[in-house]
């Protein structure tokens, strides 16, 4: 039931794709991909330079700081940040682009860091929740979360904070509904949405009609 994998052969286009697929799509059932997930054969070749399977040097900027890291091409941006650079505000929860806990900004755009490979982030500007506090000065977005008590266990919170920050950076005067829409890609298990709405109305300078 297993695809035989031989680790030390020449890197082929196919192996690169498999490796990248492993990282991006993660395992199917139970990590059972380990035992029996068939690797999909990918045909055709685009003009993509092949890298790996060994370590590749990648350089990008995290919260204003230039960093360099050597990772295998299959490593996601999220795992590069967390496991190799100790930037842990972005959390690994679903690891397949659903829950938003790993939300970061790349060149000003919000993305799920688990859906991007680290090698794709070459030269990019990455911002995480950690950038929203400096010299104990809290940015107004996380401050609104704190004031409204829009967090419980807090594991999803940095992702929500980044997503909300991105809404305000893209639109100085959004409506509360527009901000809510910007948060729909994030999931909170403790159920802090009601308090998030309080935070949203405060940031939109609107009184919440309740």
């Amino acid at each position: 039931m297993n695809e035989q994998e031989t680790p030390n052969t020449e890197p082929s286009r196919r192996e690169f794709v498999i490796a990248a697929g492993t990282a991006a799509a993660s395992t199917s059932v139970l990590g059972l991909a380990v035992l029996d997930a068939p690797a999909a054969e990918v045909q055709g070749g685009a003009a993509v330079p092949a890298v790996g399977p060994g370590g590749v040097q990648v350089a990008f900027t995290v919260n204003g700081q230039k960093v360099q890291v050597t990772v295998e091409p299959r490593v996601t941006l999220l795992d590069a940040l967390r496991n190799y650079l100790d930037v842990t505000g972005c959390k690994r929860v679903c690891d397949r682009g659903t829950c938003g806990a790993c939300t970061v900004m790349i060149d000003g755009k919000v993305i799920y860091a688990c859906t991007m490979l680290a090698v794709e982030a070459q030269g990019k500007q990455i911002r995480t929740a950690e950038s929203l506090i400096a010299n104990e000065q809290l940015d107004r977005v996380p401050a609104a979360f704190v004031n409204a008590d829009a967090q419980q266990c807090g594991f999803c919170t940095p992702g929500f904070v980044v997503a909300m920050k991105a809404v305000f950076e893209g639109n100085a005067n959004p409506t509360p509904a527009q901000v809510e829409k910007g948060l729909q890609g994030n999931i909170c298990r403790c159920g802090t949405y009601e308090q998030m709405r309080d935070a949203i109305y405060a940031l939109c300078n609107q009184k919440r009609g309740k």
Partner: protein, 743 residues
């Protein structure tokens, strides 16, 4: 009253002290811990729901680059009982190399029959779930009140019989289960950074597993990303990480991935039942009969709270007959989940009451007022502050409040009376929970000469703002602000503490925190009096200052007073009483368990839904919750807990279900895209009213607000449509099927 009578801080709203750290990602959870030389571990699991392991071959894996250590959990010849059952684990240098190592393991199985659906397992002639028993059915409960068959049905003006049920769901903690394990050089001391609801218990379990001397295992949990009842020890994965760290002599991180978290991190059992219920013309319920079953996977425990069926109203219902069968299936074991058995009980009770009310053409709110469990007069006489003695009074007040909040009299209509494609409905449900505190919860409060104040205990913060609770109480006693109190929690080296289960943490810790703060205050004033050549009784604490009545009411700022102590610090230690003398113990228990803290709450919830009769989509549009919890410590965090419980209950009613494939026995949605949880736009505005009852002492609030929510939503759907959707989650498919059945 042992709590301060005039409370400056307690009962008001306070921001959580660690809010900025959590919101900006500075807070380090177990999942975020990175130790020098740390490597990664992962467990290889069974792909089969029931099988015997024929052989395990790890030779190739052990030769892979980056391989560090192997730990066999189940040997060849052993059986596995669900898809996800642990077989072995490997530690390797990186997570990437680890995947390669695990892929190189060869395991052969002899596949055996399995059941993952309750209804099929119920009919199984064999035991596929392991352990004793000829079939998968265990834990049969079968009880009836005296002469049920002869007397129950006399005088019943209306009866109703119906099927109700709710599915197996997953805790879906966002931070998965797991820990980082690190041994010292001599392999005599183990430190773990764990995501746990029970810090000292996690350390103790590991100490026992490895046969270490007391004090040799330390568990640290500065922050943890959700537990909901599923994280009470190291579990197999935690023990495995410690084994691998010892073998590799390197720190090991083993946190479950999402698929593992959903498949082995805990489930809430299902409950399905046939209910037969009848009432007198007045609406007074005369009898309640239920035959129910459910599965908690391979667990043998009840899937409902059998003793509390029918729920809430039981003490007022004269004739009761109940039967419960636990149907084992080849899925993971169930774990406690936010009020074990209670949400299921609410489904099997509240839904039947609304169907009966409809037959009697009675308003469900009126029906509930008629059937409230009476105040227990004996209990009320013995202790006026306990819940049984005052439950009807509390519920009646809560119903009156919620009736005004949701404008029930205006907004409620007869079931199915609405018009148009989108139908609106209102539904309600009641709940109850214990939530009493206990010891040991030793707490230390230290006042330092430099003016800082430190409170320490080993208890943990599950997202309940536990640090802030501690700081509010200490600040109240010392005349300070919560932000001026440093709180160290989540470290087993601070001593024992009770696990955070059953809504017991706030009462369990706040009582000893109060006593420790008072003891520290007394030691502080004693030391200060010596320095001021006066008596402690001449000194008093006011906000920010110490007032010296022996010297013209001299007002000494707190920090300055600390500098005058002449010693580096003074301390106060306190814990729950464990006095051997029984008479004294009883008096102390009375103070601690009926004045400082207490047990038993009610609570009423109302849901408004909008149902699209063409698509079957149910949207919860507004929600109201009235909740009592004794003395409130932090109103803001209390309201957050209630709103969060409601959201968890709406997810339970509308979206969540662990779906298993009959053929393979595997869960098909061990993820977050097909295991549905609502986002912010899916959730209604929630209107919370807290009933502060400080005279009762502190009572926990974790579980109560999620218990009745799904039942309230179910009743709102019935009210909107005039037809019962029997089984939750109330998906479009089920709603359309129910509508089709009516036509």
């Amino acid at each position: 009253m042992p709590w301060p009578v005039n409370r400056r801080l307690i009962g008001r709203s306070h921001r959580r002290l660690d809010g900025p750290d959590k919101a900006t990602g500075r807070a380090k959870y177990a999942f975020d811990v990175k130790r020098p030389r740390m490597i990664f571990a992962k467990i290889l699991r069974s792909p089969h729901a029931h099988a015997t392991i024929r052989s395990i071959d790890t030779a190739a894996a052990e030769k892979m680059p980056g391989f560090r250590a192997l730990h066999i959990i189940k040997k060849a010849g052993a059986d596995v009982f669900f898809a996800g059952d642990e077989i072995l684990a490997i530690a390797a240098d990186t997570e990437e190399k680890l995947d390669d190592c695990l892929r190189a393991v060869r395991i052969e199985f002899t596949v055996l029959p399995h059941y993952v659906k309750e209804s099929e397992s119920l009919r199984s002639p064999t035991n596929t779930a392991g352990g004793a028993g000829a079939t998968n059915i265990v834990g049969v409960g079968d009880l009836a009140t005296d002469n049920f068959a002869e007397v129950a049905f006399n005088g019943a003006a209306a009866t109703h019989q119906g099927d109700y049920g709710i599915a197996v769901i997953s805790h879906q903690c966002l931070e998965s289960h797991g820990l980082v394990a690190e041994w010292d050089d001599k392999l005599q001391n183990l430190t773990v950074w764990a995501s746990t609801q029970a810090v000292p218990a996690t350390a103790e379990r590991l100490r026992v597993v490895f046969g270490l001397q007391p004090g040799r295992v330390r568990c640290i949990t500065n922050y943890m990303g959700g537990g909901f009842g599923s994280k009470f020890g190291p579990d197999i994965q935690g023990e495995t990480a410690a084994h691998l760290a010892r073998t590799a002599r390197m720190p090991v991180k083993l946190m479950l991935d999402r698929a593992e978290e959903v498949t082995v991190g805990g489930i809430r059992p299902s409950a399905y039942g046939n209910v037969y219920i009848g009432a007198a013309p007045s609406g007074q319920i005369k009898f309640y009969k239920v035959d129910c079953y459910g599965t908690g996977g391979t667990s043998r425990g009840q899937t409902v709270n059998f003793g509390l069926l029918p729920y809430v109203y039981g003490p007022g219902i004269p004739n009761i007959k109940r039967k419960h069968r636990v149907v084992r299936t080849n899925i993971q074991i169930s774990r406690a989940m936010r009020a074990p058995g209670h949400p299921q009980n609410a489904i099997l009770t509240e839904l039947a009451i609304d169907d009966l009310a409809a037959k009697l053409d009675k308003n469900p709110m009126e029906m509930r007022l008629i059937n409230l469990p009476p105040n227990d007069s004996a209990d009320a006489a013995a202790n006026p502050r306990t819940f049984p003695g005052m439950r009807a009074t509390i519920y009646r007040r809560e119903i009156e409040i919620i009736r005004r909040m949701c404008n029930w009299d205006q907004n409620w209509h007869r079931p199915g009376a609405g018009q148009g494609t989108i139908r609106t409905g209102l539904g309600m449900a009641l709940h109850t929970w214990g939530g009493g505190g206990n010891g040991p919860n030793p707490t230390r409060v230290t006042i330092n000469a430099n003016g800082t104040v430190l409170a320490q205990s080993s208890s943990q913060d599950l997202g309940t703002a536990q640090r802030t609770v501690t700081a509010i109480i200490v600040a109240e006693i010392l005349g300070l602000q919560p932000s001026e109190i440093m709180v160290d929690i989540g470290d087993s080296s601070f001593g024992p503490s009770t696990g955070s289960g059953g809504s017991t943490t706030c009462p369990g810790t706040s009582a000893s925190t109060l006593k420790a703060a008072e003891t520290a205050r007394d030691a502080f004033l004693m030391a200060l009096a010596g320095r001021l050549n006066t008596q402690p009784a001449m000194l008093s604490i006011e906000p920010g200052v110490i007032v010296n009545r022996a010297n013209n009411n001299q007002r000494i700022p707190f920090r300055q007073a600390c500098g005058m102590l002449g010693v580096p610090s003074v301390q106060g230690n306190a814990d729950w009483p464990t006095v051997p003398d029984r008479a004294q113990n009883a008096a102390l228990r009375e103070e601690w368990q009926t004045r400082l803290t207490n047990l038993g709450v009610g609570g009423v919830q109302v849901a408004e839904v909008k149902v699209d009769t063409e698509t079957g989509v149910v949207r919860c549009s507004r929600f109201w919750a009235v909740q009592d919890c004794g003395m409130i410590i932090n109103k803001l965090a209390c309201e957050s807990q209630v709103a969060g419980g409601v959201i968890m209950g709406i997810n339970y009613a509308l979206y969540e279900e662990c779906i298993y494939d009959r053929a393979t026995g595997r869960q098909v949605n061990p993820d977050m895209e097909f295991y549905k949880l609502g986002g912010i736009q899916d959730m209604p505005n929630i209107y919370v009213h807290m009933m502060d009852m400080p005279e009762r002492g502190v009572i926990g609030i974790g579980e109560p607000p999620t218990i009745g929510t799904a039942a309230a939503v179910g009743n709102a759907v019935f009210n909107a449509l005039g037809v019962r959707v029997p089984y939750a989650p109330y998906t479009p498919e089920r709603v359309l099927a129910a509508l089709a059945n009516r036509r």
